[in-house]
Structures are given as C-alpha cells and as structure tokens.
C-alpha cells in the first residue's frame, strides 16, 4: 500500500520553506513532487522599477548566501550595455570576493549536511570556520552578508593589505585541512550516511540540466570559470574536481575539494593583485538599447542574468535571473526515488538548495 508524506513547507529538515510531497511504499520513497513559491518576492518585476544603482542593491538580496555573485553577474551584463571594462585590479578583487563567498557557502553547507547526518560536533566546527571566512569578508568589504562590492565598471572597495588577508587565509586553510577535509573524506559516519544515497546518474544529470557541484558529482565536468572565464579567472590555475558516483558522498567530496581549489585561487589572486584603479570613473552611464547576458559560476552552479535596456532610461526594461537551484531542484524528484524516507532530508540538502534564489 502506498501513502503520501508531505515534508514542508515548514519542516526542521529544511533550511527554508518548500514542499516535498513523497509517495512511499513502506519506508521507501517511490516518487515525489516538489512545490516551490513560498519565498516569491517578485524581484524581477521590482528590478524594472529601480534605477541602475538601486538595481544592484536589490539583486544582491536575491540570495542571502551568494549575494556577491548576483551583483557580479548583473554588473557584467550592465557593463556590456555600457561598453565599460573594469580595470585589472577590480577583476582580481572580483575573483577574491567570489572565492571567499564560495568558501563561506561550501563550509556553511558542510555544517548543515553534518547536522542532518547527526554529526553535531562537525556542525559546530564548520560554523566556527565559516565565521572566520566571514571575518575575512568583513575585513574586505565592511559587511558580512551583503558585501556591496560590485559596481558598473569595477568594485567599490580596494584590498589595501593583501598580505594580511593571505595570513587569515592560511589559518583558515590549515583548519580546513586539519578538520573538515579529513573528517568528510574519511569518517565512517559521513561514509555510512552518504555513500550510495540519493544517486543522480550522469545521464539523468545531463537530461535534467543540473549545474555546479551537483553536475560535477555526477561526472559532468562543467565549470564556467574554466569553460567561459570571466573577471580574472583566465589567469588562475586550478582544477575542477569531478566525482562519478553521483551520490551524496560524491557531492560532499566535490565541495570539500572545491574548498581547497578556492584557497589555491585566492592565494594566486592575492599574490598577483595588480596595481591600479578599482573602477572606471564615469560621470554618467550611457546605456545602449539592447539585451545583454552574463553568466558566472556561483557556489551552487551557473547563475545567468539577462538584462534588457532602452537608451536614455534609468531603469532596466527587464531583468531575468536563472539561479543554479532553479536548475538543480527538479533533480530531487529523481534522487529520492528508491531512497529511505529517513534519508530524504539529507538528499534534498545535498543539492545545497537556495529556495529564496529559486523563487526570486
């Protein structure tokens, strides 16, 4: 006999509201249906009512974790419409903040995953390290969540003392190497809760169109920092970690390895930070009529902005955002099929979902 079990929209196993309606036979999930929209704020519409300065602040609030990547992608699109190219130093600073944001996001996710595994000590450790990443972001931007770093044609704040940031980064990397990476890669708890659970095959991942660590954990080597480099990524050397198992453990490993790659990129960017201006001084932005599109590799995967403008207007005519979770969430239906009911909170968390991003 099959029966339906609703999880959410408000549930201790979910970080934000959404609803997973599961059809079960005994303790096994046979199918599931997803319901979103609980965080719908009409942000794309609101963007049309904001001018080119205000819209940056607005889009920074699409997501409470990867706020910087939204302004970076939006500014890149607006730079195409104003024919502005940020100076090299600004491009490097964009890479530094984007990678710190990736660190912060991945460590936060690791903490939540640890909590859902029943590994509460690890949760505490992850959040302690995350605080340190946020301290670095605060030292650079003055802010801990919405950094307000990007502007059209560059960045708002300089990194005046890269050596001090490097020092903070080294301490952070040491802790990650000492705790997070070895525990997640070798602990029996992590292995027994995650291996073979919530499998998304490479074929299904390609068919559903998943992005970011989700795709890379299913054997698809796609990363916009490598395939379509933006900011200063072309000048950075790094690997794109790929695992082929497609289970929760593979997602854990990909993110753990990406933490180390982010540290590698940060060391290079801070070490080679070129001198010069941090933005193009402009008295008045001259937008051309047309549509520009920009993509970036957010911590959860590809984010895309399409921005449409009419010459002479202060407001965009249209802003469309395709967030990574929007592409990744439909895969949850396939990942929970055949899973034990008790594993479903961890499976849905393994996509590192951001429901606010998805609903906009």
């Amino acid at each position: 006999m099959s029966y339906r079990i609703p999880m959410g929209p408000f549930h201790p196993g979910l970080e934000e509201p959404y609803k997973l309606e599961m059809i079960c036979t005994g303790e096994t999930v046979t199918d599931a249906k997803l319901h979103i929209g609980f965080n719908f704020r009409g942000i794309e519409h609101l963007a049309e009512t904001r001018n080119y300065i205000q819209v940056i602040a607005l889009m920074e609030r699409v997501c409470g974790i990867c706020s910087n990547i939204h302004t970076l992608t939006l500014c890149q699109a607006m730079e195409r419409l104003t024919n502005l190219t940020p100076p090299p130093r600004a491009q490097y600073i964009r890479v530094i903040v984007a990678e710190l944001e990736r660190l912060h996001s991945h460590v936060l996710w690791a903490g939540i995953a640890a909590k859902l595994m029943g590994f509460k000590t690890m949760f505490m450790t992850c959040f302690e390290i995350r605080e340190k990443v946020m301290d670095v972001l605060q030292a650079i931007s003055g802010n801990r969540v919405n950094y307000a770093m990007n502007r059209i044609g560059g960045v708002n704040r300089d990194i005046e003392d890269p050596a001090s940031i490097l020092k903070m980064l080294e301490a952070l990397e040491r802790e990650m190497l000492r705790t997070i990476i070895p525990i997640f890669t070798t602990s029996t708890t992590a292995r027994s809760r995650c291996a073979g659970v919530g499998v998304l095959t490479a074929a299904k991942a390609a068919s559903v169109g998943v992005v970011g660590p989700m795709a890379r954990a299913s054997g698809l080597s796609q990363d916009l920092r490598r395939a379509a480099p933006y900011a200063a990524y072309e000048e950075m050397e790094f690997d794109v970690p790929v695992q082929t198992e497609g289970d929760v453990r593979a997602r854990l490993l990909v993110r753990a390895l990406e933490i180390m790659e982010s540290c590698k990129i940060l060391r290079q960017a801070l070490g080679k930070l070129p001198p010069g201006e941090i933005f193009v001084p402009v008295e008045k932005y001259a937008f051309i009529t047309g549509t520009a599109t920009s993509r970036a590799e957010a911590p959860r995967g590809e984010v895309m902005y399409s921005v449409s403008w009419r010459e002479g207007s202060r407001n965009p005519a249209r802003v469309h955002v395709r967030t990574p979770t929007y592409a990744n969430m439909p895969a949850v239906r396939w990942m929970v099929q055949g899973a034990r009911l008790a594993d479903t909170p961890l499976i849905q968390a393994s996509i590192d979902p951001c429901y606010s991003c998805t609903d906009r």
């Binding site: 519409h45 559903v208 169109g209 796609q222 379509a228 599109t293 592409a327 609903d359």
Partner: protein, 136 residues
C-alpha cells in the same frame, strides 16, 4: 567544423550565428523550436533557460531560448504569433519549470504538454502580470 557550424548543418540553415551581448544568436527564420531542440540535443548542448519579454504596445511576446555549448551561450529568439508555441518538454526535460513559469506569468500556451498546477504563486489564475497590476 565548429560546434556552431555543426548545429547549423543539422538544421539545414545558412543563417549565420551573430555574437551580441554575450550570446551567439541564431535567427530561426522558418525553423520551429522543436527542430532547434532536436539539433541542440544532437550537439549535446545543455539547456539553460528561456527568457520571456513582453514587447511594447500590442506586439506580443518574444521568447529567447538559451543553450550552452562548451562554454558558449547560444540564443534562439522566437516572436510569438499568438499566445502559443510548441512545448519541447518531451525533447528536453530541463525546460519543465521554466515553461510552467512562463505559462503562469504570461499565459503562454506550450502546446503538447499538460500544465501542472502553478509553480511560483498562489492561486489558480495564470497571467497575473505584476507590471500591469502595479500600473493599475
């Protein structure tokens, strides 16, 4: 032969790919969206999204379909004659949510698929246009 040329060849079109605003655009001319979707599948292009634009006055809607091919963002625009266009859901399951969202927001009928209940907003009335609501 480049990936873009291979797609053109599969489609049997001589229309050039035009780079603009970060996208490689293809004018579909007489081709339908299902022809495009099949060619993209054969080229192993990854579906990214559809962006809907409400055109000025009563000119209707334009849908821009996007795929990724080895880091290149491809775009194919379709101006809707009426309020409908063929669905490509059976060819590309990644379009599911965005087709449903556009149906919900602009009442575009994606012919050939069933529209499940609304995705983003409460209620059973699709086509509540926020821009028009705000202007009222």
């Amino acid at each position: 032969m480049t990936g873009l040329e291979a797609i053109s060849q599969k489609l049997g079109t001589t229309a050039p790919w035009r780079e603009s605003g970060g996208v490689y655009w293809l004018d579909p001319r007489t081709l339908g969206i299902r022809d495009i979707a099949r060619a993209m599948n054969e080229a192993h292009a990854r579906f990214v999204t559809i962006t809907a634009y409400q055109l000025p006055k009563d000119e209707g809607l334009r849908l821009e379909y996007h795929w990724d091919l080895d880091g290149k963002l491809l775009g194919v625009p379709f101006k809707l004659a009426g309020d409908s266009i063929e669905s490509i859901y059976d060819l590309c399951e990644a379009v599911d949510w965005i087709e449903r969202e556009i149906h919900e927001e602009y009442v575009v009928e994606f012919v050939g698929r069933e529209h499940e209940p609304l995705l983003l907003r409460e209620g059973d009335k699709p086509g509540v246009n926020l821009r028009e609501e705000a202007a009222r």
